[in-house]
Amino acid sequence: MTELTIAIAKGRLQAEALALLARAGLRLADEAHLSRRLAIEDESGRYRFIFIKPADVPVYVEHGIADCGLVGRDVLLESEADLLQPLTLEIGRCRIVVAAPDTNLTDGFGMLRVATKYPRIAAKHFGEHGQPVEIIELSGSVELAPVLGLADCIVDLVETGATLRENGLQIVEVIAESSARFVVNRASYQLKARFVSSLLEAVKAGMQEMVVRPPSPIGRETG
């Protein structure tokens, strides 16, 4: 009988997340790594992992189908899911930024066209600045939008900034710093308190073992 189901965001975060969990003592058999199955147990049989799209992690955890999850803060901000976030993890560091071909974005009055995969974050950010925007929701290759004239700027994740540079974009503003979060379903946190807190302790210990990468300085040139 597994104690906890843990949802892992596939893609960008997956390898780092599994490495962290391995240091916390949760190991997946190599064979399991290779298989294409979407739900597997760790070697101890105490934990079941499910691998799903990042945006689905808050959904599974909020419904309690998964008790815990590892997912980027960017995804949490966009989902507005009601979850506990007891741990900030030192992995998956990136920034959510406004980027444009020219840092002098507006004359202050016009309507701004914003292409993004994060419509809620974008709308909230520009709303707080009183800037009227038209949000153009895209599902990928957002950097292309200003280049081809679909939008004036983008709101997107930036890790190294290489993609931005290659497309001639510069960071106008950093909206938020993001790194992975360990999230927990509210009901599971109480009903499976013993299992959740022992996993939290293990992950904390796993994090301390890590060689902590210094956070990259905030600034346009490193974008």
């Binding site: 808050p58 959904v59 909020e62 419904h63 309690g64 189908i65 989902s79 507005e80 899911a81 009601d82 979850l83 506990l84 976030q85 007891p86 741990l87 900030t88 927990v184 379903n185 509210r186 009901a187 599971s188 946190y189 109480q190 009903l191 308190a193």
Partner: protein, 377 residues
């Protein structure tokens, strides 16, 4: 044409068969228990002035109500909660009645938007009670005891956890830090999501590093009696300390009646600060990902209707209770209540038929008037 006839709006649904039966049985069981604790049943109007809910729930929550206009242009709403209507009645219609007032209800409520992503329903039935006009530990314990009895009667013993907190602990800390409304909301959200790291960063600009670390610890304090000892080491302001004392008194009562295994103290639960004023509790049941019920003390509520007095109560979500019972396979006990023996009634001479049918009903048997001579299971 056929498509538009079959479609129903999102967030509403039909209930029928065994599910409808189970819901009714749960409702009846709860109402019987309320009555046994001397709670009088009350049903406020389904349609009421929108302004009632703005006063009762706060303007933000009330925005979730279905709204429409009366013939005189006044804004009406389908009730999004039951408590607002009861609070008004207590302060006006029943202002002169002897206190305390004890009310119970089982009534549908309607919201334009679901309360969270995981609760998709826009119509749901709230089962709850209010104890108005009494403060203190005994009143708090009274409603908790009723909640426990209902959960236990539904066969959920060992499957549920009730978390308790006193919001004055948080309010005292906010007061001692001197936060404005925006900062208070930011702090509330960080505490409510148990986000220790960001909480520490936030507090760094308000207090010493040492205090930061201890406050950040506080939000993750959840557990049983040991929580009080740990919390006392961190809490220095009087307001919080007094609240912590009250919560501990309540805990000792819970413990003394043998319920401490079903209870947890969760100092990080600070949802609905605008509504609750002291005790706050949440009910979780294994197998249900969302909370099944919640309650607490709201001493400011009736003041909004012109008569300030203490009040405490809780609400259980009928759908969540039914789901909890299915998940914990505890349906049988209730399901069997009305499902007794079936009777065979044939379509013969109506006089004979109904004499027989009434006789069987008197015995409590189930009756089905059938056109064929078939034996019911």
């Amino acid at each position: 044409m056929s498509e538009s006839l079959s479609a129903i709006p999102s967030g509403v649904r039909y209930y029928f068969g065994s599910e409808a039966h189970l819901r009714r049985a749960i409702e009846q069981a709860a109402m019987t228990i309320f009555k046994a604790w001397s709670y009088e049943e009350i049903t406020p109007p389904t349609v009421d002035y929108y302004s009632l809910f703005e006063r009762g729930m706060g303007s933000v929550e009330a925005q979730d109500a279905f709204r429409f206009t009366d013939t005189d242009g006044k804004l009406l709403a389908l009730r999004p909660d039951v408590t607002s209507g009861i609070a008004r009645a207590a302060a006006t219609l029943m202002a002169k009645r002897e206190r305390p007032l004890r009310f119970s209800y089982a009534a549908p409520v309607f919201r334009l938007r679901a309360e969270s992503h995981a609760e998709w329903r826009r119509e749901s039935t709230q089962i709850g009670c209010e104890l108005i006009g009494r403060h203190g530990c005994a009143a708090d314990m009274e409603v908790l005891a009723i909640a426990v009895e209902i959960l236990s009667f539904l066969g959920l013993d060992g499957s549920y956890t009730i978390t308790i907190n006193d919001l004055e602990i948080f309010n005292g800390i906010v007061g001692s830090l001197g936060l404005d409304a925006t900062a208070q909301e930011e702090l509330r959200e960080l505490v409510d999501t148990h986000n220790a790291r960001d909480l520490e960063l936030f507090l760094a600009s308000y207090t010493s590093a040492e205090e930061c670390a201890s406050f950040a610890q506080l939000v993750q304090l959840s557990g049983r009696s040991e929580v009080f000892e740990n919390a006392r080491r961190v809490i220095t302001n009087q307001r919080s300390a007094a609240a912590l004392g009250r919560l501990e008194t309540l805990w000792t009562v819970v413990d003394s009646v043998g319920l401490s295994a079903q209870f947890e103290v969760d100092l990080g639960d600070v949802s609905r600060l605008d509504y609750y004023t002291g005790l706050l509790f949440k009910i979780y049941v294994a197998g249900v990902g969302t909370r099944v019920g919640s309650g607490g003390r709201y001493d400011q509520l009736t003041a909004n209707f012109g008569k300030a007095e203490p009040a405490v109560g809780f609400v259980l979500d009928l759908d969540a209770l039914a789901e909890a019972m299915r998940a914990n396979e505890s349906i049988t006990r209730l399901g069997e209540v009305a499902e007794r023996t079936a009777a065979l009634i044939m379509d013969e001479d109506p006089k004979v038929l109904f004499r027989e049918a009434l006789r069987k009903r008197e015995r409590g048997d189930k009756v089905l008037i059938s056109p064929q001579r078939e034996v019911m299971p």
